[in-house]
């Protein structure tokens, strides 16, 4: 037998990439301008030239296990310079998408979460659960939360019910994430052997977190500087909202257990309220910029349903969140409750299916970035 790498072109996988945002993939003629243009590609371990030919040949293993595709931050400097218009940046995005889809468990959920129709079906789950709970809890009181003096969302659905529902959703997300990441890490190890000179796991983790918080990699981009800013706003907005949610949770239960503190809804100048609103605003501006850029195609390639479902749900989550507060304060009773209901639905979708949608890049990319440092990716990899 031979020790040569056996290559078997996979037509279906190629078509998968073509349909996932890498529509111009086949135009590449391997001149390697992209690799030279890429501000993140390092000497000795270049990308994305080799990913382009692997993708043209549909070499699945090399692509979904590649750590390099996760080092790309899709700034599209390469696509800007590509003489053939093959848009390597978008192809790298498509490869990451294929990677998430490949490792997400159960794969049926992953498939559904990224197709328009499937996503609608999955949305039905939180709609039915939350709607069901609301009906169950309020049917005998005749839905009197609509007629009370003040609009208090907890009257429609108590915090404990929300917590139970979202805890289960989070539990599902964490389990599927662990399953997905297990496969992913296995793939990374297979595709990118550890070489001497890598960082320790601790160094790798802290280094990566530093990179993410500072958005250092984004800043190296040439043509797409504003993209980093949008993503930064978005990310910090979400972190703020995440902290807000948890603070609210803690305060609420402290109140329940008899501590003398202000329960929700907080007054306008409550510190947690301020944090929440500022974060929501940041997230909104971020997601607005991202959406606008994609819609008007500013330096971004063709967005696939994978992108749009994630961005759309994100956008709607932030929007309904803000509007819930606006309608509550404005005392548009029915509209306020309906908006809040949908806010819960979208948050559920975002949370439960995080590992299956593009939201999963939070885990996958972070893992890949840590692994890249850990395996000594900045030294030349052994070519097979």
């Amino acid at each position: 037998m031979t020790d040569r790498a056996v290559i078997n072109a996979d037509l279906k996988f190629v078509q998968g990439i073509l349909n996932s945002g890498g529509a111009d993939l086949k135009k590449c003629y391997q001149c390697s301008t992209c690799t030279v243009a890429c501000p993140l590609s390092e000497e000795g371990v270049p990308f994305p030239r080799k990913e382009m030919i692997y993708a043209q040949w549909g070499i699945r293993d090399k692509l979904i296990n590649s750590v390099d595709s996760w080092l790309c931050h899709h700034c599209n400097d390469c696509s800007d310079q590509c003489p053939r218009g093959a848009r390597p940046g978008d192809v790298m995005g498509a490869i990451r998408q294929m990677s998430i889809r490949a490792f997400s468990k159960p794969s049926l959920v992953a498939k559904a979460a990224n197709s328009p129709l499937g996503a609608l079906l999955l949305l039905l789950i939180p709609m039915l659960i939350i709607g069901g709970v609301i009906c169950f809890l309020n049917a005998d009181q005749g839905f009197d939360f609509l007629t009370r003096e003040r609009i208090i969302y907890a009257n429609m659905i108590p915090v404990i019910a929300i917590d139970l529902i979202f805890m289960s959703a989070a539990f599902f997300a964490v389990i599927t994430m662990i399953l997905g990441l297990r496969g992913f890490i296995g793939g990374l190890k297979k595709g990118n052997p550890i070489i001497n000179g890598g960082e320790t796991l601790g160094q790798a983790v802290t280094g990566t977190i530093r990179d993410i918080l500072s958005h250092r990699k984004f800043k190296e981009c040439g043509v797409n500087q504003s993209r980093g800013t949008a993503h930064l706003l978005m990310m910090y907005g979400f972190i703020g909202l995440f902290i807000t949610t948890n603070l609210v949770l803690v305060i609420h239960y402290l109140h329940e257990f008899g501590f003398d503190i202000q329960d929700t809804p907080f007054p306008f100048f409550h510190p947690v309220k301020i944090l929440g609103n500022v974060s929501a605003l940041a997230a909104f501006i971020g997601i607005f910029l991202i959406t606008a850029r994609r819609l008007f195609n500013q330096g971004v390639g063709k967005s696939s349903s994978f992108d749009w479902i994630f961005i759309g749900v994100m956008f709607l989550t932030v929007l309904t969140g803000i509007m819930s507060q606006v309608f509550r304060v404005a005392e548009f009773v029915e509209i306020a409750f309906i908006t809040y209901y949908f806010h819960l639905v979208f948050v559920f979708f975002l949370l439960a299916f995080a590992p299956h949608t593009k939201f999963g890049h939070l885990f996958y990319r972070t893992t890949a970035m840590i692994y890249a440092r850990y395996c000594g990716r900045s030294l030349p990899l052994k070519q097979d």
Binding site: T2, R4, A5, V6, I7, K26, I53, Y54, Q56
Partner: protein, 718 residues
């Protein structure tokens, strides 16, 4: 009849700034005894030309020397009609523009003036010797023979017919169409060059058959071609029967063939499931792509440059196989969208707008391309082929598996390893001479369709590898050349490269020794021989280069307007200063096609040149007779330079062998020169092409310095 010679000297274009033209009049009147002699400030304008023409009308002058610009300028202005010779003494370029001008006081430089006077003498002497060439006229048969009924042949026949000349088309096989019969589709033919075309052969053949002036000879071959352009006799053989037809010119369109796949055992040619592109084309035409056992082939690999660009097989690139494989990959995808096509190339070469077709094929998700070097091809059982690829874009050492492997073989001329298609009755052989790879010898870019047999043109893949589109264009080009031959020949005019030249060599056969040098050396096979070996000229085959004139040791071959006597007179007319004046004289023979234009170019750039040189243009260095050397040395020239084109395998000679023959002759004369106690280095040949113009001063000065070291020619003044 005594010639009445007029000498007309132009003082414009800066000539007067370097030369005392009035002084030249004295040379013309006193030494040359010219019947008329004038200086005019602007000889090529209306008043200047009127000056010449009034002398012509008055009958005082019938032969003219125009001492002005080089012979390559104002040819039509100074044309005084077919009955009058006009010679051009190039005092503008080679004297005024390249030699020392007058000094600040307006005094002419002595050397410059001597050069100008010498040119007047040289041309004044030569014009007296010249005769008006009489055209060789014959009854011209204005029809064309096309050999080969493929795409090229059919198109050539249609083009000739369209131009209004009858055609005889001979095809070896019973059916017309040649290689294209097997094609499933044709390459893209029109903008945007992205889509394949249907096989249009049937339509083409029916168009051919509808033409009443095209006679078809299927299942036939050409058994003999005798005669010369305008008057060939062709014997066409069909089985046992023979037919003789008279034609005027020939288009050889016998096509090409694929390189023999079976020689490519290093690419697995011996395995089952390995086919050549021809075999694959035929398979694709049936619409079923299968392995040898009949099961469908789902992965089909193409190896490019199979045997091409390989010193063990074909050393050249056929330029068509890349497009052909892309076309066949398109078949693969048309026939079954689930089937994959791998194309393994060294370089993808899709010239011109074919790039668009390449892009389209590349866009197909089922066509997989990678560069790489084939390390090994092996068999995996009965049903699969394994291809080991090194240095591929996909990795250094990879292996691919295919159900069917197609070897994209290159093209070979049909003149290689085949019976003669022409059977010429020429003394130099029955086939066209070839130079590289069996392709007919001609510069395929500069002089397309030309062969070394006048009136016989090659077109299509017989002359270099090409595809159908190129072959069609080629057919049209060759058809025009064939028609041109008929017309020019009927007027007794030469073909390429001295198109329109009426002069043909005259043979004073009474003094011929039958040494056969001319019959052997003629680059175009113009001369046949009788049984005693005496040359039998076929003037219409001649291209007037004068190689025979240079070859003849008896000096019995000459042209009316270009002869040994005329050149010798020019040599002898140069005034040689005696040895104490320290003014050496160097004679330069410059080929009119390449080296003379280099002098013109140098002059246009005002490049200063050694004032001791005198230039004599020759039609080709092949016309250099050794008597020129002895003449030059005996009158006292210190050195002789021969400037012509590059020779050898990548020659650039318009007349194929001229510079090579000159070189050979000079090598033989060196010994004689040494015997005369002269340094053989005084005689040397140089390769000077147009783009060497800026090196001319250096080449000449180096030579002069070297000659200076030997001291003056001892024969000076004798």
């Amino acid at each position: 009849m005594k010639k009445k010679c007029g000498i007309y000297i132009c003082s414009g274009c800066g000539i007067d700034a370097a030369v005392d033209t009035q002084a030249l009049i004295k040379v013309a009147e006193k030494e040359l005894k010219a019947e008329a002699c004038h200086v005019h400030p602007f000889l090529c304008d209306d008043s200047g030309l009127e000056l010449i023409k009034s002398d012509l009308r008055a009958g005082t002058v019938d032969h003219f020397v125009v001492a002005a610009c080089s012979q390559r300028f104002h040819q039509q202005s100074f044309d005084m009609g077919p009955e009058h010779m006009v010679l051009r003494a190039p005092i503008r370029e080679y004297v005024a523009w390249m030699m020392e001008p007058r000094d600040e006081n307006g005094k002419v430089n002595e050397d410059t003036q001597m050069a100008a006077a010498d040119y007047i003498r040289m041309y004044g002497a030569r014009v007296k010797r010249m005769e008006i060439p009489q055209p060789f006229e014959q009854d011209t048969i204005k029809s064309v023979l096309v050999i080969g009924g493929g795409i090229t042949g059919i198109n050539a026949a249609l083009e000739v017919s369209k131009a209004g000349y009858p055609v005889h088309l001979v095809e070896k096989q019973a059916e017309l169409g040649g290689a294209a019969k097997e094609y499933r589709s044709f390459l893209p033919q029109k903008a945007p060059y992205r889509d394949l075309e249907d096989n249009q052969l049937e339509e083409l053949i029916s168009r051919l058959k509808s033409k009443s002036d095209i006679s078809l000879y299927p299942s036939s071959t050409v058994d003999a071609i005798d005669g010369e352009p305008g008057n060939f006799t062709v014997r066409i053989k069909n089985g046992q029967s023979q037919k003789t037809v008279a034609i005027g010119s020939v288009i050889l369109a016998t096509g090409g063939k694929s390189y023999d796949k079976n020689k490519l055992t290093h690419l697995g040619a011996q395995f089952k499931n390995v086919v050549s592109s021809d075999e694959f084309e035929a398979m694709a035409k049936t619409g079923k792509l299968t392995r040898q056992d009949g099961s469908p082939a789902k992965t089909i690999a193409f190896i490019q440059c199979a045997g091409s660009r390989d010193k063990n097989h074909l050393s050249y690139c056929s330029s068509t196989c890349c497009m052909n494989s892309l076309k066949q990959a398109a078949y693969v995808r048309q026939i079954d969208p689930e089937t994959k096509a791998y194309i393994l190339y060294r370089d993808m070469r899709t010239p011109g707008l074919y790039e668009n077709f390449y892009k389209k094929q590349q866009d197909d998700p089922g066509i997989f391309l990678t560069k790489g070097e084939i390390a090994q091809v092996s068999e995996d059982g009965e049903r699969s082929i394994l291809i080991d690829l090194d240095n591929s874009l996909l990795g250094d050492q990879i292996q691919l598996k295919a159900d069917l492997l197609v070897l994209a073989t290159g093209q070979v001329s049909s003149l290689v390893d085949e019976e003669s298609h022409l059977n010429l009755g020429y003394r130099q052989g029955k086939d066209l001479p070839d130079l590289n790879h069996g392709y007919p010898d001609s510069h395929f870019i500069c002089f397309p369709y030309e062969t070394r047999r006048t009136g016989i043109f090659s077109a299509g893949p017989v002359r270099h590898p090409m595809d159908i589109n190129e072959a069609k264009r080629d057919a049209a080009g060759a058809a025009l050349k064939a028609v041109q031959t008929l017309e020019l020949t009927s007027m007794g005019k030469s073909m390429h490269p001295r198109v329109g030249d009426l002069s043909k060599p005259d043979f004073y056969l009474a003094r011929c020794t039958s040494c056969k040098r001319c019959t052997e050396e003629c680059p175009f096979g113009m001369l046949d021989e009788d049984e005693k070996g005496t040359p039998r000229p076929n003037p219409a085959r001649c291209r007037s280069c004068g190689t025979c004139m240079g070859a003849c040791p008896e000096r019995i071959i000459s042209f009316a307007d270009y002869s040994i006597q005329q050149i010798s007179d020019m040599i002898k007319e140069v005034e040689i200063p005696d040895e104490f004046e320290e003014k050496p004289r160097i004679l330069i023979f410059a080929c009119e096609n390449d080296s003379l234009p280099a002098f013109d170019m140098a002059a246009l750039n005002r490049i200063r040149i050694n004032p001791y040189i005198r230039i004599i243009p020759v039609r080709c260095l092949g016309g250099i007779n050794l008597v020129f050397v002895s003449d030059a040395l005996s009158v006292g020239f210190d050195g002789v330079m021969f400037m012509g084109c590059k020779f050898g395998d990548d020659y650039q000679c318009h007349f194929v062998k001229g510079s090579e023959l000159c070189n050979e002759r000079l090598s033989k004369v060196q010994e004689t020169i040494s015997r005369l106690n002269l340094e053989s280095e005084r005689i040397r040949q140089f390769t000077v092409t147009l783009n060497d113009y800026d090196k001319l001063p250096e080449i000449i000065n180096d030579f002069v310095t070297e000659i200076d070291a030997f001291g003056p020619n001892p024969f000076k003044g004798m």
